[in-house]
């Protein structure tokens, strides 16, 4: 232990003998670590947002459907159970954020135009926490009850249909017997969504109203549950499995949308690749610095060896020197990353490329997300790889022949 203290002190002093070199290296390490963490935070934020948007389009972390519904999202594949009865079970199970809805393809027609849309028959109370629509930001008003006779559509859709609040539109779909089911609705609200296609594709009507229009009694297309964290939905999944019975399919979000699911996995891989690449770029400079530091001290190292210092201690000293350098760089880089993420935590506006971001499935505001695990990962990777990189110069230093080293000019 005593030896370690001595070595650490030696290493520390050696580091500052050539302060210019150390500072440049520190700057490089700090910048590298900052880039690792900052970029990772941005990418994490992007993916989170993407998944959040994606889930709000699905929506729900765990969903219950008729087994054929996903391939054929039509009226024929409803959950073969009474909505009231299943809902009671969800309430009893203590779920807070859950909802059941009718979700079928439909055609909406104004006086001028028709469009294909997805009709969502919802209960506005239970839907509040789940949907991508902010009720209070809706122009006009949102649905007030499950038997509300109005319809809320996206602003973009309203523009294409040439309709507005107060006007009537006709919704056409089919009932279970394949007879055309249609009904006139008054447009009562227009919503805005941060993903443009949502505004074109989704429209909301009261669940009871839609059930009546489609003549499906007390049945719905799906039950959805929102958990605490999208990364860990297994608890909810198990619970829902216990609740439902009969001919239904229970799926988690990453099974429902494999694109989003793989996105998360790809992201984890990518973060690691990014950290390693930056480290490699740094490692050349690090090894170089160490090699130089060893090289200019050959005589001194020889002297220490001649005085009886063990080679292992020389090795230790160089490695400590390298780790000290890295540790300072890591601390500064991590702190800098934290400091730069703070002011932009509330989102960076990237709306100049909003349609492009739409295409990647992202919204136009970017919220960086600094995860402790990523910071730890960056630090650990840098320390471990840095240790490995400094082995060779340190080993070389410890193998000097004392006499030769001392006499070297």
């Amino acid at each position: 232990m005593h030896m370690f203290v001595v070595l650490a002190r030696l290493a520390w002093r050696n580091l500052w003998r050539n302060h210019r070199r150390t500072l440049i290296m520190l700057a490089a390490i700090t910048l590298g670590v900052w880039a690792m963490i900052f970029m990772t935070a941005l990418m994490r934020g992007m993916v989170s947002q993407m998944i959040a948007d994606g889930i709000s389009a699905l929506p729900g972390h765990v969903q219950v459907h008729h087994p054929d519904y996903r391939d054929d999202p039509s009226i024929a594949n409803l959950i073969p159970r009474s909505d009231t009865e299943l809902s009671a079970r969800f309430v009893d199970a203590g779920f807070v954020k859950w909802s059941s809805r009718v979700r079928v393809p439909a055609v909406i027609t104004s006086e001028y135009e028709s469009r294909g849309v997805t009709l969502l028959g919802i209960d506005p109370d239970s839907e509040r926490d789940l949907t991508f629509v902010d009720y209070d930001a809706v122009e006009g008003r949102f649905l007030s009850a499950s038997d509300d006779s109005g319809v809320v559509i996206g602003k973009k859709l309203a523009a294409t249909l040439n309709t507005e609040i107060g006007k009537r539109v006709v919704l056409m779909s089919q009932d279970p017997d394949n007879d055309i089911a249609d009904r006139g609705f008054r447009v009562i609200g227009l919503f805005e969504a941060n993903v443009q296609s949502f505004e074109e594709n989704y429209l909301f009507a009261g669940k009871a109203t839609v059930q009546k229009m489609l003549r499906i009694g007390d049945q719905v297309s799906e039950f959805v549950v929102l958990g605490e964290d999208y990364r860990d939905v297994d608890a909810e999944f198990e619970k829902v499995l216990q609740l439902v019975d009969g001919n239904v399919e229970v799926k988690r979000w990453f099974e429902l949308d494999p694109y989003l699911g793989t996105m998360l996995g790809v992201m984890d891989g990518f973060v690691l690749v990014w950290i390693v690449v930056i480290f490699l770029a740094l490692s050349f400079g690090l090894v170089n610095t160490l090699v130089m530091a060893v090289f200019e001290r050959v005589r001194e190292i020889g002297l220490m060896l001649a005085l009886g210092m063990k080679p292992i201690n020389i090795l230790g000293q160089i490695i400590i020197e390298s780790l000290l350098l890295l540790a300072i760089g890591l601390a500064l880089g991590s702190a800098l990353a934290w400091a730069t993420v703070q002011p932009i935590k509330d989102g960076i506006d990237v709306s100049i490329v909003s349609e492009g971001m739409d295409m990647w499935g992202m919204s136009s505001v970017l919220y960086p997300e600094l995860l402790l695990s990523d910071v730890v990962l960056a630090n650990v990777v840098v320390l471990v790889l840095g240790f490995l990189a400094s082995l060779s110069p340190a080993w070389r230093a410890s193998r000097y022949e004392p006499i030769e080293a001392i006499t070297k000019v």
Partner: protein, 409 residues
């Protein structure tokens, strides 16, 4: 060989390990840049080509406003004669007229709302990949036949097969009720379930009858062999448009604004990463050059007192750096090219990429293309930064005082 060059060259190899490590850092980043940029360019090219060839085409002639609203009434009059005239003028078959409507498509059992597109069967093949995706039956034939081609997913959902009849219900150009019975002659499969479910095609002549189009359509698609020709052809087409009629020509960027933006968004995040890499390399070079200047203080003092000007010494240091940079550039670009070439033959893939790329009409494997631009753009930037990094050490020389410098150990 020039004296200064010889001096610089020899100076570099006084510390071969340091030189190699610095060259290695430059090489590493050059290699990575060459590979990444080739991959990116290749991907963007594919993204544009695949998206445009799938359906949109390079240019479209439309009524003003159609691009935003896509309303039934925003038509191009006498669309087929106009398309024929253009085909004759350009002596090209890659021009075809289309019309679009939304309709409720019903089979005996089911109904779905989809887009119904009227196409010129003889020419559609040249402006869209859809006819080539027909896996069962055939593509449309006669201009006026009551035929329809639908996606595999829709066929499955509607529970229909080749030869079955479907009913189309929608509204015509004047807002009146439009209906028709059509025969399924072909089923296509694009691999994208949503696309397969939302697009159906019928012959344009038949479309015009059903939807009361009175000889009009909604747009004419023009496909060009080379994307670079777009601006020239756009002007030619604009000049050809019948006088007195209110028509506009849109290029692909206007038609698919998301495409360029998606590329831009991706590019900016990529350039951030490249920037970090380049700066890290610059730090590495700065460190090396500063060290090599500092350790030669004594020697520089001598040559200065012998009458060499600091300016010339500065140039020597810059030249040394330039040699480092050129070595790194040559090796890096060469290795990068080899590396990229290997992938251009064997393809590049990443776990999870398949799901992600399918969303952008891209294949699961990429074949990056080596081009002069992608080969040189990254290394050139690295080279510039390498030289910049040597400016500070070179400038330090100006402050050197011969006598003091000679005393330095």
């Amino acid at each position: 060989m020039n004296l200064v060059f010889r001096l610089a060259w020899r100076n570099l190899w006084r510390q071969p390990r340091r030189t190699w490590l610095t060259v290695g850092a430059i090489m590493f980043s050059n290699m990575l840049l060459v590979f990444m940029i080739s991959l990116q360019f290749g991907m963007y090219g594919l993204m544009i080509d695949n998206t445009l060839q799938a359906f949109t085409g390079h240019l479209q002639i439309q009524a003003p406003g159609y691009i935003d609203d896509q309303k039934m009434r925003q038509t191009v009059d006498n669309v087929v004669p106009l398309a024929t005239e253009l085909r004759d003028y350009f002596d090209s078959d890659n021009i075809a007229a289309r019309a679009t409507a939304f309709a409720l498509v019903s089979s005996e059992e089911r109904s779905y709302g989809t887009a119904v597109i009227g196409t010129e069967p003889a020419f559609e093949r040249n402006v869209s990949t859809l006819p080539g995706l027909v896996t069962q039956g055939r593509y449309l034939g006669e201009q006026d036949a009551a035929e329809i081609v639908i996606g595999a997913a829709l066929a499955r959902n509607l529970r229909v097969a080749l030869g079955d009849e479907l009913t189309l219900i929608g509204s015509g150009r004047d807002g009146s009720f439009a209906a028709a019975v059509v025969n399924i002659v072909g089923v296509f499969e694009s691999g994208l379930v949503d696309f397969d479910r939302s697009i159906t095609e019928i012959p344009l002549g038949f479309f015009q009858d059903v939807f009361y189009m009175d000889g009009s359509g909604h747009y004419i698609v023009i496909n060009l062999p080379l994307i670079d020709d777009v601006p020239v052809v756009q002007e030619q087409v604009e000049a050809l448009l019948p006088a007195g009629e209110d028509l506009v020509v849109h290029d692909w960027d206007a038609l698919q604004p998301g495409l360029k933006q998606a590329i831009k968004a991706d590019m900016s995040s990529a350039f951030f990463m490249y920037g970090i890499l380049v700066i890290l390399v610059a730090f590495s070079v700065l460190n090396t050059q500063l060290m090599s200047v500092l350790e030669r203080t004594h020697e520089f003092g001598i040559v200065l007192s012998l009458g060499l000007t600091p300016g010339r010494l500065g140039r020597l240091v810059l030249l040394e750096t330039a040699i480092l940079g050129v070595l790194g550039l040559l090796f890096g670009a060469l290795l990068g090219a080899l590396f990229t070439y290997w992938f251009s033959v064997n393809g590049f893939s990443y776990p999870g990429m398949e799901e992600m790329t399918a969303k952008f009409n891209l294949p699961a494997r990429f074949y990056p293309q080596v081009s002069v631009l992608s080969l040189l753009i990254g290394p050139a930037v690295v080279f510039i930064f390498t030289i910049l990094a040597a400016v500070y050490p070179a400038l330090r020389l100006r402050k050197l005082h011969p006598v003091e410098a000679m005393r330095a150990v």
